[in-house]
């Protein structure tokens, strides 16, 4: 066969060059006037609302910087961070934070160094500069505001510096590193997770730290990340099972999903604490913390399965046919063609699920575990800090808000990177 003469049979460019659309930029004042003060009635409502918002903001700020006594947070930072984790073993947690910071910076830099195949990415886009500025501000302000000792402040500066430095190094020189090394980076995350488990729980020659001593942010993040990571494969398998042609598989998947979705999480948590001991042979039942972790995992898995199922039904059947007709086996076709598309579609719903799971971990305090909320309740019960509820709850809310915002931002960045129709920006 002869090659097509260039240009003869090819489609003409989709859009011929055309004049730019007329500029519709308006001034800020114009936008404000149109949106808030378009008519007399609008103006009245807007003015009232603005006054109300200003008044409450002023009230909150006056309380936060005048009346509020933040000593309750400053004195208990360690308790809020890690619970009753033994002090002489806390170097293990510091090591974990250092490793996470280094790997985060490395991955972040590499993501910028290797933009998508169809784009030329900027090395330091505006968002990244903003994020670095924010990190710098937090590193400078937060340790001081929490009245940490000077050595601890220096530690946080160093960790932040490490993250930014890794981001910088990987961003500038990542492209020249050997590909074999680069392939290890995504693999190092699950490895780091396993290592983190060992560092937290003990093993490999380090002394055991019983789960009943984990607490605060450590326990909350540990429970949430464990449930998120393990519920993902469960969700995918159950979603595939629910769409399977094999009746037994299909019906057991439906049964699992409907059983979990039919009961409130708090019921399942209590059930898990009480009944697992009878269900599993003596000694096999995990301890209280791990029982709760598994209940959270299976709970999240059922909801995730529904999100993944929606994603699977959104992939046109022609995709599987095309993959199969190219000779891919069913597992290969699922892995390479169907699941990548289905999971991308399911991503927003799945992240919504993860965010609500993170917040659901506060229910652990009701079964007597010392997660963030549980720790807060013990602190507030201390006669020394009576009546400091507002300070504690506000801190908790901001902490959760930060974690959820990070999840949300990360997932939106991932969506944009994976969206094949997103126009290059």
């Amino acid at each position: 066969m002869t090659a097509l003469p260039p240009g003869s049979a090819t489609t003409p460019p989709l859009r011929p060059a055309s004049p730019a659309p007329p500029s519709v930029q308006r001034s800020w004042a114009g936008v404000l006037r149109q949106e808030l003060f378009a008519s007399r009635g609008d103006g009245l409502v807007s003015a009232l609302l603005i006054l109300l918002i200003l008044a409450s903001a002023v009230g909150l700020l006056r309380w936060a910087f005048g009346q509020a006594q933040w000593a309750v947070i400053q004195v208990n930072t360690t308790l809020f961070a890690v619970g009753r984790y033994p002090i002489e073993q806390q170097w293990r947690l510091w090591l974990l934070v250092v490793l996470v910071a280094a790997l985060s910076g490395l991955s972040w830099g590499l993501l910028r160094a290797f933009p998508r195949a169809d784009r030329s990415g900027e090395l330091w886009p505006f968002n990244d500069r903003l994020a670095v500025a924010l990190l710098g501000f937090l590193a400078a302000w937060l340790p001081a505001a929490l009245a940490l000792g000077f050595p601890l402040q220096v530690r946080w500066w160093a960790i932040t510096g490490l993250l930014v430095a890794m981001r910088w190094i990987a961003g500038h020189w990542g492209r020249s590193w050997p590909p074999r090394l680069l392939k290890l980076v995504p693999l190092s995350w699950p490895l780091l997770y396993l290592l983190g488990m060992v560092l937290i729980a003990g093993g490999l020659g380090m002394s055991q730290v019983s789960p009943s001593n984990w607490g605060g942010l450590l326990l909350t993040l540990l429970m949430a990340s464990f449930a998120i990571l393990l519920s993902f494969p469960i969700g995918v398998v159950v979603a595939l099972g629910r769409r399977s042609d094999l009746p037994l598989l299909r019906w057991s998947s439906v049964l699992y999903i409907e059983f979990i979705r039919g009961a409130p999480l708090i019921t399942l948590l209590f059930l898990g604490q009480n009944i697992l001991g009878y269900m599993l042979p003596g000694g096999w039942a995990p301890d209280r913390v791990w029982r709760a972790a598994w209940v959270l995992t299976f709970f999240c898995g059922a909801y995730l399965a529904e999100a993944v199922r929606a994603g699977l039904s959104a992939v046109p059947p022609g995709q599987l046919e095309a993959a199969r007709s190219l000779g891919l086996s069913m597992p290969q076709a699922l892995q390479r063609v169907v699941l990548p598309q289905a999971l991308r579609i399911a991503l927003p719903a799945a992240v919504g699920q993860f965010i609500s799971l993170l917040q659901d971990t506060t229910l652990l305090s009701l079964i007597g575990l010392l997660d963030l909320l549980g720790t807060a309740r013990t602190v507030m019960a201390n006669p020394e800090f009576l009546g400091k509820n507002a300070e504690v709850y506000l801190t908790l809310a901001v902490l959760f808000w930060c974690c959820c915002a990070a999840l949300g931002l990360g997932s939106r960045a991932l969506e944009r990177r994976l969206d094949p129709t997103h126009s290059p920006a």
Partner: protein, 247 residues
């Protein structure tokens, strides 16, 4: 010119859909190596169903089909072997939207044939050159026009080095101005001696490229003839009706 060595042999193929619809009522067809067979017929006549049985995208209940000497049975290894040797081009292109054009082409050779990626990509670039869109290799399918997408789909099939290409209405979903570029690629393939079974309504293509035209109606083959006979002097009343409607 086609040789006499048969590439596809279908004998008495019968198919019922699960809802009881009798889609294929004993269809016989033999396609020789290097032959281009065009299948025409009104919608619902079973022509798409028929060519989809050749690579086991559709099951059939009675009769037998062998492709390149391999008998289609329920044995999964046979099905995989036939699918590797049989390329298929779909009406809706069915490109993988999450992969670039180049990755669309190299996926199956790397995953199924276990070939080296660098070697496959060189071959893929040569194929894209042949269908005239090498400069789009790093784009995603959603960024291409319909005609370009269908040419990528043809190149994707060719990358597995198939011995037979099946086309299921390859130009029906295209804007009229893009039909020509796809037919041009198919014409070149036929000139290179590729064995092709094409379900299409493109009269010009059938007249010019096909060695044989087959008319299907209600799950049966009504007429089978060289294009000049089929278009000028059809033997059956049903064929005359069909031609009268589309000409």
């Amino acid at each position: 010119m086609p040789s006499t060595q048969p590439m596809i042999e279908a004998c008495g193929v019968q198919k019922w859909y699960p809802n009881g619809f009798h889609a294929l009522r004993g269809v016989d067809l033999s396609v020789s190596k290097g032959e281009v067979v065009v299948i025409m017929g009104p919608s619902g006549s079973g022509k798409s169903t028929f060519i989809r049985t050749f690579n086991a995208l559709e099951e059939f209940q009675e009769g037998s089909i062998s492709v390149d000497g391999i008998v289609l049975s329920n044995d999964l290894r046979n099905i995989d072997a036939i699918r590797c040797d049989t390329g298929m081009v779909f009406q809706q292109f069915n490109l993988f939207p999450h992969l670039t054009v180049l990755e669309n082409l190299s996926l199956a050779p790397v995953v199924v044939r276990k070939r080296r990626r660098s070697e496959v990509e060189a071959q893929a670039m040569a194929l894209l050159e042949r269908v005239g869109i090498a400069e789009q290799a790093r784009k995603y399918p959603g960024q291409l026009s319909g005609g370009q997408q269908q040419r990528v789909a043809i190149a994707r099939s060719l990358c597995m080095e198939p011995r037979i290409l099946l086309f299921d209405e390859p130009t029906s979903a295209l804007d009229p101005e893009m039909v020509g570029e796809v037919l041009e690629v198919m014409r070149n393939l036929a000139a290179d001696g590729m064995t092709m079974v094409v379900v299409t309504h493109e009269m010009g293509f059938a007249r010019e490229v096909a060695h044989r035209v087959v008319l299907m109606s209600e799950g049966q083959i009504v007429e089978e003839a060289p294009p000049e006979t089929f278009f000028t002097n059809p033997q059956h009343e049903r064929s005359r009706q069909f031609l009268a409607q589309i000409l």
